[in-house]
Structures are given as structure tokens and as C-alpha cells.
């Protein structure tokens, strides 16, 4: 459909009759004026007796068209594709949208409201995108009414809740709708900034308490037990009375009644045997959002790390490893081990993290200062004196990007690190080194570096984003109350009109050039 943005300019079309009239006056070159046309009667082919003004120069049509194009360009003629109405629906699938109200999740309620709105709008194409992952799209154009609501509900519930990913821009060629419960602060901010043609809001429930974290570590007092903690938070607006149950491998180890004030947090501690594999916490009775009432944690990370230890490494090195409570030394158990410690050349690289010590017959004393290159836990704190160290000169390599420890005076790498593999060229059985307090610290730091995790005091935890468990609506931005104008697919015709006007102007110039052949034709046409 054609429309104009500045219709006042259309008044300029009233000049067209004036152009026609002026071209009648300017037609003097079409017929030569004479004082006595009757003198030519004897040689005349045709005589037209007329007291009226001559016919207008046909060029008036070209110039009137030119003027019309300019007027339409000034009026900003626009081509609007009303029939091709496309809608992109941004569907909030955050955790709060899975809260149940009236025995149904908010996603189902939102799907029903969305479908009704789409039936009313009757667009040609509808594309629904999940806010957590914009690659997940659903074409809702094929069906309408109740089947469409059911299809949208099934599709949204088939995906796990996710954190909203706010896009930088909205597509301009389609209308943009938003379906949300408004509980997420980022979505709310987005609503305030972005231009939505329509916003569909769902959700009225506000009360929700959630287990937001569960953590465990080895007990410092009793090595046979693990010490754990559960964090419960009330995200509603009223006091919440809930019962917290914690199970360790299915056995109830804690049952506690909680009374949490709005916005309050309660930590509950528990002890479980060291060999416990799984701890699960649950709040009862269930509230609107059941998904955040349970949380589980696997305690595998707290079990001692099995180390395949090469007995040729020496007693001092082995003693330092054995002193670490997080390690369990076994010889010849590479399949079960998480770390391999070797002290002899091996033809095959290890498939698991490893520490390889390169022994020598004649060690060389380190003379210059040593320098730590790689910031590893504990390594930078291990101040090593050169007098404690001696190296294997045969296997020591020049310092590289992967060097952990080097001596600038010698130009050699003392310890190298690669992905999960550490090569040690120091003599780890050298008495001045092994007798230092820094020695077990150095050994433990190398083990944690090879495993890429702490082993001395590991902590396992499972947490949940606090904001995701909020189901109450955030303060509404103004955009909800005043939806933006519908964004149709519009094409501004001004550039095309100006191009066409330029071409007509060029044609006019060519025709009007003195002596131009086109002028002659035009003149004869006028005659």
C-alpha cells in the first residue's frame, strides 16, 4: 500500500494546470507567426481556423511528470507491505517461567495467551525464539487457535530452563513481541530499552523459597567424615516455613524445619561418611517453582587421588607425596590412577596427568638464582635457594614458554610443564632440598598443577543463580503500558523517485537542446 508522510506537499500538484497553460503560450516555435496567414492559402496543405490559443507543447507532459515525481519525493512516498505481516516472538524460558500457577506452568499459560494474540493479529509468519538460546526457533505459522497454543507449550517445556540472553538488536523487518513473566531483571531492563510491538505478561505468584547451594569438604577433625552445608533462601515477599531434608546415598541424615523471612538466607550443616557418593537436599512442601526445591551434589571430588607411584623415585619424594591426605600412592595401578609419577625414562607418553623426574648419575650444582615462571598455586611462595638444588645436565633443556623454573645463569630449565605433564630435572632426593620445609609444599604444588585442581583441601559445591529463582515480577517499565507502534515492512520510495526525476530532466535537456533532432520531432508533434 502506498502512503505519504508529508501530505501537505501534495498541494504542489496544483501547479500542473499552470504548466499546461504556460506550454500553450510557449508554443510560438511550433508554428511560425505571420501577419497574414491568408497569403499562404494558395500553397496550404491544411488550414485550421482557430481563434483559440494553440495546442500546448507536448513537453508539458514530461515536465508535469517531473514535477509530480519531485512532489511525491517531498511528500515522502512510502510503500508498505501490509499483507506480509511477520512477527518474531521472544519467549522467556528462564527458570521462573516454569513456576506452576493453577496446576499449569507459566509457559503453558503464556503459550495460550500468545496464541490468542496471534489469532487476533493474523500474521503471515510467526517465528518463536527462546531467550536462553536464540538458535532454538519454532515456526508457529502453520496452525492456529488451541492446537497452536498446545504446540507452543509442548515446544517450550521440551527445553530446559536457561538464563536469558539479551540480543543486541531486534530485527527491523518484523514485528517483535515479548512473552515474559518479568521476573528477570535483565529482561525487564531490555523491555525498557527495546521497541516491542507487543508484550505479553504472565505470572501472578510471588512466593518461592529455593535451595541455592549445597557444598561439602573433608572434615578437618574426623577424617572418616565429610562436612557439608546447604543454603536456603526465601525469594518471596512473605515468611516461608519449610522443611529441609538432606539424604546421603538415600539415607536421611538431616531433617530440619526452617522459618525464613523474606529475602533471608539459612545455612544448615551436616556430616556424612567419607565414602558417600551423593548428597541430595529437598525442601518440603513444594511451592510454585518446584525445580529449585531440590539440589544434588556428587562427592566424588572429595575422595583421595590415586597416584601410580614409581618406587624408583626414592623414599623422600614418596614420603612427601604420602604426607598429602588427598593422595593415595599405589604402585603399578595406572588404569585406576589419576596421576602417574615416574622416575625413569618411558617410551610412551602417559594418558593421564604425570610428573616425570629425570634422574642422573652426575648432577650439576645450580650456581645462579632460580626464578618461577608460571603462577601455579603455592609455587610462587616456594622460595628455593640455589644451594639446595642440583640438576641433571643431560636432560635439562633451554628455557621455553612452558618453563616453570629456570636458572638464568645456567640458561637451563629446571622444571617444565605441558598439558597435564610436568618434567622435573632437579634431584628430588638431594638432601639439602628434601630437608627443607619448602619441599612438601613444592611437591604438593606440582601435583595440583598436574591435576589442575586442589587435592589437599578440595571443596565440592552445587549452586544456583539467586536471580533465576525469583518468580515475582520486577517493577514494570513504561514500555509494557504503551506498546510501540507496529513495525511494518516499509520501503521509502524517495530515492527511486529522485532517480526517475533525474532521468526525465536529462531527457528534457536533450529534447530542448538547440538543433537537437528530438526538438524538431517535438515541434512537429505540437504542430
Amino acid at each position: 500500500m502506498l502512503s505519504v508522510s508529508a501530505p501537505i506537499w501534495l498541494a504542489g500538484l496544483a501547479v500542473i494546470p499552470l504548466i499546461w497553460w504556460l506550454h500553450r503560450l510557449g508554443d510560438t516555435d511550433a508554428a511560425a507567426p505571420v501577419s497574414a496567414a491568408f497569403l499562404f492559402h494558395s500553397q496550404a496543405d491544411e488550414v485550421k481556423t482557430s481563434h483559440a490559443l494553440p495546442r500546448a507543447n507536448p513537453l508539458w507532459i514530461l515536465r508535469a511528470t517531473l514535477l509530480s515525481l519531485l512532489v511525491l519525493a517531498l511528500a515522502r512516498l512510502t510503500w508498505t507491505l501490509d499483507s506480509e505481516r511477520h512477527i518474531t516472538v521472544w519467549f522467556d524460558d528462564s527458570l521462573s517461567m516454569h513456576a506452576h500457577e493453577d496446576q499449569r506452568p507459566r509457559t503453558a499459560i503464556a503459550a495460550r495467551k500468545l496464541s490468542a494474540a496471534l489469532d487476533e493479529a493474523d500474521p503471515a509468519k510467526v517465528q518463536i525464539l527462546l531467550l536462553s538460546d536464540h538458535r532454538l526457533q519454532f515456526d508457529a505459522s502453520a496452525v492456529a487457535g488451541e492446537p497452536r497454543a498446545a504446540a507452543i507449550a509442548r515446544w517450550t517445556e521440551s527445553h530446559k530452563p536457561g538464563s536469558p540472553q539479551i540480543p543486541f538488536t531486534l530485527p527491523r523487518e518484523t514485528e517483535n513481541w515479548l512473552v515474559s513473566d518479568g521476573a528477570d531483571r535483565r529482561v525487564n531492563t531490555w523491555m525498557d530499552d527495546a521497541v516491542f510491538s507487543r508484550t505479553i505478561a504472565v505470572g501472578s505468584e510471588t512466593e518461592n523459597a529455593a535451595i541455592t547451594a549445597i557444598m561439602a569438604r573433608r572434615s578437618l577433625q574426623q577424617t572418616a567424615l565429610q562436612h557439608g552445608s546447604v543454603r536456603v533462601r526465601n525469594l518471596g515477599a512473605a515468611d516461608s516455613k519449610r522443611s529441609l531434608t538432606v539424604r546421603a546415598d538415600g539415607q536421611v541424615i538431616l531433617n530440619e524445619d526452617l522459618e525464613i523471612s523474606p529475602g533471608g538466607v539459612i545455612y544448615s550443616s551436616f556430616l556424612v561418611p567419607a565414602d558417600t557418593a551423593l548428597v541430595a537436599a529437598r525442601l518440603l512442601p513444594g511451592d510454585a517453582l518446584a525445580l529449585d526445591d531440590t539440589l544434588e551434589i556428587a562427592l566424588d571430588g572429595l575422595q583421595p587421588v590415586v597416584v601410580d607411584f614409581d618406587s624408583r623415585c626414592g623414599s623422600r619424594f614418596g614420603g612427601a607425596l604420602n604426607a598429602n591426605p588427598g593422595l593415595e600412592l599405589r604402585a603399578g595401578t595406572e588404569r585406576e590412577a589419576a596421576l602417574t609419577v615416574r622416575c625413569a625414562p618411558s617410551p610412551e607418553p602417559s594418558a593421564i596427568p604425570s610428573i616425570s623426574v629425570h634422574p642422573a648419575i652426575d648432577y650439576q650444582t645450580v650456581t645462579g638464582p632460580v626464578h618461577w615462571h608460571h603462577p601455579a598455586p603455592g609455587l610462587s611462595d616456594a622460595s628455593l635457594d640455589p644451594s639446595w638444588l642440583q640438576i641433571n645436565p643431560d636432560s635439562a633443556r633451554p628455557p621455553s614458554d612452558l618453563t616453570l623454573l629456570s636458572s638464568p645463569d645456567m640458561g637451563l630449565s629446571l622444571i617444565d610443564a605441558q598439558a597435564g605433564a610436568i618434567d622435573v630435572f632437579l634431584d628430588f632426593e638431594f638432601a639439602p632440598l628434601t630437608e627443607r620445609l619448602e619441599y612438601p609444599l613444592l611437591v604438593n604444588a606440582l601435583v595440583e598443577l598436574a591435576l589442575a585442581r586442589p587435592v589437599l583441601d578440595p571443596v565440592v559445591r552445587a549452586t544456583r543463580n539467586l536471580a533465576e529463582s525469583r518468580i515475582a515480577r520486577q517493577p514494570e517499565p513504561g514500555i509494557i503500558a504503551s506498546p510501540a507502534a507496529v513495525a511494518h515492512s516499509k520501503t521509502d520510495m524517495t530515492p527511486y523517485l529522485l532517480i526517475l526525476a533525474t532521468l526525465l530532466l536529462l531527457a528534457d535537456v536533450l529534447i530542448s537542446l538547440p538543433g537537437g533532432t528530438l526538438r524538431g520531432r517535438a515541434s512537429r508533434g505540437a504542430a
Binding site: A31, A32, P33, V34, F40, H41, S42, H51, G520
Partner: protein, 298 residues
């Protein structure tokens, strides 16, 4: 593009000295005898009356009844009027055609017409006549009433100075002037006479016993030319009539113009009209002398 001549510029070239010289030959124009007194200026004894009795003759319809001689008419039983050898003082009307055909693009045709009108006015006033000016097209466009003396010349010159021919249309209808012409008023017609009948019908209407008619036909050299060889049609500036022509149009039109001029001349001779022709490029003095020659040879 050459500058177009206008009436004011044309009148500025009609100098007092030239007019004075031309006035000495005024009596040759058959416009009356100047009565010289002590000076060079003509002396008028009675307005509108001749001084030298000629004869009695029968009254003709249209003549001024004041010329009736009642005594002779009663004695002879028919109306008789007194005639004189010549009239010292008469009424003359200058009829100036200002139709579009008089307005050539260079303005020369209208300029010469204005100069001739001024010269005739001066000469007629010089011998003591009352002179008026009528500018006509298809109607009377402007009128300067009859008057006498130097002040009348100034009035006529002022009217001529501000005048110009029609730019389009108009037509040349000489008979339109009959509404403002008094009986017995003599005429000087300045026109191109470019009408299919050469204004013969109108001249017939204006003819009356005792009325002298002087006519000067002014034609432009470009009157019958079609300058642009690409032109395939001509349009009459007065009537708007458009004629599609062939390649020999100019030559044929010239031939037609000569035939048409011969007819007009024959008509004039037959009806006692003093007609002379001139070109728009001629000097007004030459035109006047040529007209005097026509009158004296008639």
C-alpha cells in the same frame, strides 16, 4: 538579438526641424491651403468654413445640413448646398491600426506608423485643421478627440508615445471607427491593410461624399518570409489561423501579396483614396514625400 524599437524612441527621431520643413509642403497633400498673414503661421478666419465660393450643387445624403442654402433650395424646389473652392479649416481623424500584425518582432512597423501619425498630425494642425487620433484593432482602443493648435499636437504625441501594437489577436476592423467619426471628417489611415479583402469592405463603409481619405500602407520586409526551413506551419498572429505549408510557401505568399496589393491599389484609385505603400524600414520623411507625390500625381 537586436533591440526592439518602441514608440517613444521612434517619436524622438521626429524632430521639429524636419517637421517644419515637411510642413511647407503640407498644401500639396490636399489637406487645405494655409492662409498666411503677417507671419509664417497659418491664419484661420472661420472655423470649418471655406472662404472662396465655388458653386451650388444638389444636397447628397449624409452631408452636413448646415451647408444647405435655404434661399436657393426654396427657389429651385430641391435642397442645395454651397460649396467652396477649398476649406481652410477641416476636421481630420488619424486612424492608426494597432492590431497584432502591426507589431513586428523588431518593432519597426509600429515605429514607422507612429512617426507617420505624428508627421500627419503636425502637418494637418499646421494648416489650421482640427485633428484627432483613433487607435483601432477590432474595436476603438483609444481616442484623442479633435483639437487644434500646438497643444493638440502635444496630446497626440503623448498618446503615441505610450502606445504599442497588440501582441496577439486584435484584428483590423476599420469600420469600428465609424462610431467615433463625425460626418464630414476626413481620414488618414495608417495600416498594413493585411486582411483578405484589404479592408475594402470597411473602406466602402467609410466613404462618403466630400470625405477625403488618405491611406498609407506599411509592410514589413519579413511579412511573407518563413525564415526557419524546418517550419511546416504558420500561424496568423491576429486570427490564430494555422496553415500547414509546403516548401514553396514563401515564394507563393509573395506572389499572392503582389496580387493582393494590385487589387487594393485599383480599389483606391477607383474610389478616390490617396494610397501609398512603404516598407517598415523606410524613413518617415521619405514616406511622406512619396505620399505627397502620390497625391499630386492623382
Amino acid at each position: 538579438m537586436p533591440e526592439r524599437l518602441n514608440a517613444a524612441a521612434a517619436l524622438s527621431s521626429v524632430g521639429q526641424a524636419d517637421l517644419g520643413k515637411m510642413a511647407r509642403a503640407a498644401h500639396l497633400l490636399d489637406i487645405g491651403q494655409p492662409a498666411f498673414g503677417t507671419g509664417l503661421r497659418p491664419h484661420r478666419t472661420h472655423s470649418g468654413q471655406g472662404t472662396e465660393f465655388l458653386e451650388f450643387r444638389s444636397y447628397r445624403p449624409g452631408e452636413d445640413i448646415r451647408r444647405l442654402d435655404w434661399r436657393v433650395s426654396v427657389r429651385r424646389g430641391r435642397p442645395y448646398v454651397r460649396t467652396y473652392h477649398d476649406e481652410l479649416s477641416a476636421d481630420w481623424q488619424l486612424c492608426l491600426d494597432r492590431s497584432a500584425s502591426m507589431g513586428t518582432p523588431d518593432g519597426s512597423k509600429w515605429a514607422l506608423a507612429v512617426q507617420l501619425a505624428a508627421a500627419f498630425a503636425y502637418m494637418l494642425l499646421h494648416v489650421g485643421n482640427r485633428v484627432g487620433l483613433v487607435k483601432f484593432s477590432n474595436r476603438v482602443d483609444d481616442l484623442c478627440p479633435l483639437g487644434r493648435g500646438r497643444l493638440q499636437y502635444v496630446r497626440i504625441a503623448d498618446q503615441l508615445r505610450d502606445s504599442e501594437a497588440e501582441s496577439y489577436g486584435g484584428g483590423s476592423v476599420l469600420s469600428a471607427t465609424t462610431t467615433v467619426l463625425r460626418p464630414g471628417t476626413h481620414l488618414v489611415i495608417l495600416s498594413d491593410f493585411l486582411q483578405p479583402d484589404a479592408m475594402q469592405a470597411d473602406l466602402e463603409k467609410l466613404r462618403s461624399p466630400g470625405r477625403k481619405i488618405h491611406a498609407v500602407q506599411i509592410l514589413s520586409p519579413s511579412e511573407t518570409e518563413v525564415s526557419d526551413p524546418e517550419t511546416r506551419s504558420v500561424r496568423d498572429v491576429e486570427t490564430g489561423e494555422q496553415v500547414t505549408v509546403n516548401s514553396d510557401a514563401s515564394r507563393a505568399a509573395l506572389s499572392e501579396l503582389r496580387r493582393w496589393q494590385r487589387e487594393l491599389k485599383t480599389f483606391s484609385v477607383r474610389n478616390g483614396i490617396r494610397l501609398s505603400s512603404c516598407s517598415a524600414t523606410d524613413r518617415w520623411q521619405d514616406v511622406m514625400l512619396r505620399h505627397i507625390a502620390v497625391v499630386t500625381n492623382a
